[in-house]
Assembly symmetry: D2
Homo-oligomer: 154 residues x 4
């Protein structure tokens, strides 16, 4: 059983910086980190055993972003290999939070950190509730007393 002091369980995925993601400063344009956060969420869901797309297509539930925050520590550059680490923060059947760490995969330098908050909605963007089977998946890693089996962190 995970204790309160345990670090959150991060899912990890790697991408390579695309030329399209750079700007005329010669570094990655800042909005792309939010795209990387989304790549991290997708990987997190996969690591928990469900594709995020199923939540939308089969259950009619969307996680609409309510808030996003990014702190940029060091620039990323074309062809850098980037490690995206994603963990669930708090989760209720109405609101889900994620936290992110963006690192250079080779140097392990921390490039950015961030958080996002998502509201559960139906297909018409109206507030809705997350099915219990999904909430359990979100909580098993953000609620340390949960007994659900932990998936691999990468």
């Amino acid at each position: 059983m995970r204790k309160n002091s345990d670090p959150p369980s991060f899912a990890e995925t790697t991408i390579t910086v695309r030329y399209a993601e750079t700007d005329q400063m010669g570094i990655v344009y800042y909005a792309n980190y939010l795209v990387w956060f989304e790549v991290g969420r997708t990987a997190w869901c996969r690591a928990r055993g469900f594709p995020y797309g199923d939540l939308e297509a089969r259950h009619g539930r969307m996680l609409v972003v309510a808030e996003a925050h990014c702190r940029y520590k060091a620039p990323a550059r074309y062809e850098d290999e980037i490690l995206i680490r994603t963990a669930a923060g708090s989760a209720t059947d109405k609101v889900i939070c994620f936290v992110y760490e963006i690192l250079n995969r080779h140097s392990r330098q921390l490039l950015a950190t961030g958080e996002s908050t998502h509201v559960v909605t139906d297909r018409e963007c109206r507030p809705a509730r997350l099915p219990a089977e999904f909430l359990k998946l979100f909580r098993s890693h953000s609620e340390p007393t949960g007994k659900a089996p932990r998936a691999r962190s990468a």
Copy 2:
């Protein structure tokens, strides 16, 4: 009545190059010209008197891109004002073509030209037919013998 030798009727719209659209070469990244073509199509539909969104939302018809082609003549840079000129090429109830010219608005230098071909589909991306009322709008400017009233060209 427009004759066969008449030039096509272009709709014009202007944008300012965004920092996000540049890359580390210091010029606009090449894929963004296809985004500008889409901005041109939207403006063309508006100039013909209908929002493209209505075609999707009210009539369940989508124009799915089948082919796109762009020739890049000169680079565009951050904060440049860009003139997007769009005209309908050939049009049937199954396939619609557009042609584009991208210019620097102030110098009138031609930056790029292009074409795109679109297949009419239903919401599930299956081949479908364009409602006659819309086909008329596409043809009134690409088919010079049509008698439908011409809208303003910008």
Copy 3:
């Protein structure tokens, strides 16, 4: 002279939502709001009488993003006209802050609010100082009394 209780001086600019900016939820993808913030900054600089590009090209100074934050209130959709309102928050010769409001231009509904913090650097992304002539422009609207730097106005 503007008093401390005066509202910040917003520069306004309008854009139309592009098809490219939507995602499969049918609404604008969340990272694009950070692109809109940048469009707002560009407009703000123009409204203050200087193109941001000059700061980079002529003075060798860049405003590298150190932090960005966005709260999403209501979705934006394809072809919506969007009003971007941008104001300078606090400004020193090392750190500049902006605040943003994103509204539907016609309904005046508030769609999002945000802030960003920028570090002044040289062309190699090393910390540098903003030339006094520019700092004055940033401060003339955010620091009306010329006293000690005020905290962010958002």
Copy 4:
């Protein structure tokens, strides 16, 4: 030695479709295929033993896009695994061509094909020549017999 009738030598790389890459049709927005082409070029250079970035950073040569063309066969969707296949077409010290195939990695369905033409320039986007050591790399796979330049293989 490779014969004229040999198929071109493709470099392959895999990506997963990002939510950001979809649009409100529920499929990947068409301009993103040009981004994937660029991901393919980067992978092709890596497979030939040099990072494209070196050509810019160390040799001051850029490959500025002069023409791009894409035929869309079938839509790609969120979370699809995409196989990008890239080969060099013709190559001189002034002009380089690439050809692309985009496939669904699992079903092997062909989703799109394309070509791009690139002009060799210096850092100021003026025409320049590709260093011989690089030209050899481009040609070793597209011009196996070392004879007169063949026409584009697409």
